[in-house]
Symmetry: C2
Subunit: 282 residues, 2 copies
Amino acid sequence: MNSTVPNALVDGVATGRIDVQDRGLHYGDGLFETLAVRDGRPRFWSRHMARLMAGLERLGFPVVDERQLEAEAESLIRPGQQGVLKILLTRGRAGRGYGTIKGQAPSRVLLMAPWPEGLEAKARAGVAVRMCQLRLGQNPILAGIKHLNRLEQVMARSEWETPEIDEGLLCDGGERVIEGTRANLFMVRNGTLLTPELSASGVAGVMRSVVLDLARELGAPARVKAIHRRELSEADELFLTNSLQGIVPIRHLQQQQWTDWPLTRRLQEALATTEEGTAWYP
Amino acid sequence: MNSTVPNALVDGVATGRIDVQDRGLHYGDGLFETLAVRDGRPRFWSRHMARLMAGLERLGFPVVDERQLEAEAESLIRPGQQGVLKILLTRGRAGRGYGTIKGQAPSRVLLMAPWPEGLEAKARAGVAVRMCQLRLGQNPILAGIKHLNRLEQVMARSEWETPEIDEGLLCDGGERVIEGTRANLFMVRNGTLLTPELSASGVAGVMRSVVLDLARELGAPARVKAIHRRELSEADELFLTNSLQGIVPIRHLQQQQWTDWPLTRRLQEALATTEEGTAWYP
């Protein structure tokens, strides 16, 4: 560890601790972003910031200075570093009760962690996934944004322990498939790329938005729509997306299996050739 | 402030700060209890502990030593003190991702705050409440327990700023009324006490359980059932319950108003004569 570069900043101060009265702890009253840092550079920074700012607005937070976040992020990243940057904003210190204090500055937490092993292998070979029992609740006010109320994801992830299963897919109460516990889902059917509509549940991932743009550039028809879990049996290809893993083909889902993913592979190649994806994506 | 008695304990240590990697902050992965402390004694301790332990089991936490919590609570409370004790348990320090570490000891946070002003006056005169726009999501795994994912309550509470409105009532997506942002709801109709069924949304409050027991002792018929918001117009009395406020009559709800609350008053009197309610409840 380079002792001159901290791993954590709280409101700009190098510390591993936060006020025990913080509303992030008490209510999950905040948002986060998880960014791939490759060769010393946070990837898809602008898209992450756009989602973060949309989340701040949705939750009624005051505006946050993006340049301050950028400067703090830079101060945590060593030249050429591979890692994961987590940015967490909360509504600040709690008073008594749920009511908020107008204009109170959010708490800023920035954390650097090592780059996880094995992601390239998964992107090449594909992964096995399962269907989760848990059903996601529906709430349009909280859907799409990456807020700190993540107990559904924690409980869904606790449904399996077998390391062979890489991810679990989640449906809402209407049996519409929404996403994985930490990834968005895409499906290819008859040459069309489909991904679940997220107006009442789920997180609209940054890599999901990248893939939708790449599909457009490749001329592949793509639609965002409600997908019933039944429709998964009609999938010619399935893949997952998230900001660290990029695009990951699904090899097994319950009784189904796939061994080649033509459109998924084209999208992976397209991602690898973008400026943000270069030097990271296999 | 008495300098020998701290206001906050984290894992038994007098400190106002917590590990920035705590899963309570990152995911809201934990539970809390808010207890009335009157004359130096936390009220309804056993009921709070029972709910807390039920929540721990639901979320798959390891067992927590109640005597340790009790000893820590006692070390925060001065003799004869009036105040509010908040006990917050999280799943401990986060690794990477939502997966949990088997047997990891929960983090324990205990906080003492001053007793809020004005509660007695509200219990006497009644309060005005409104209907919230936000609809509570449904999730049986998280319903009933007092977990740390409270963004719905934060967002509902942000719907009004007028201080004359004391509380907002929340419905689920099926237009069933569930609870207030920080209180449970009771309704009296034709001599029967009704309170919403909470199997998919809401928090099963400690004071709610006290009131259901008091009704039984008074011989008043009481039922837990789904209540459509339409049914509120048939209410002969409405009241709120929570662990600090006890039993609070509703004076106004939108166009409706009430000026006497015979059963509510009987329940208030019954609460005041219980051992736990004595010396606190008006």
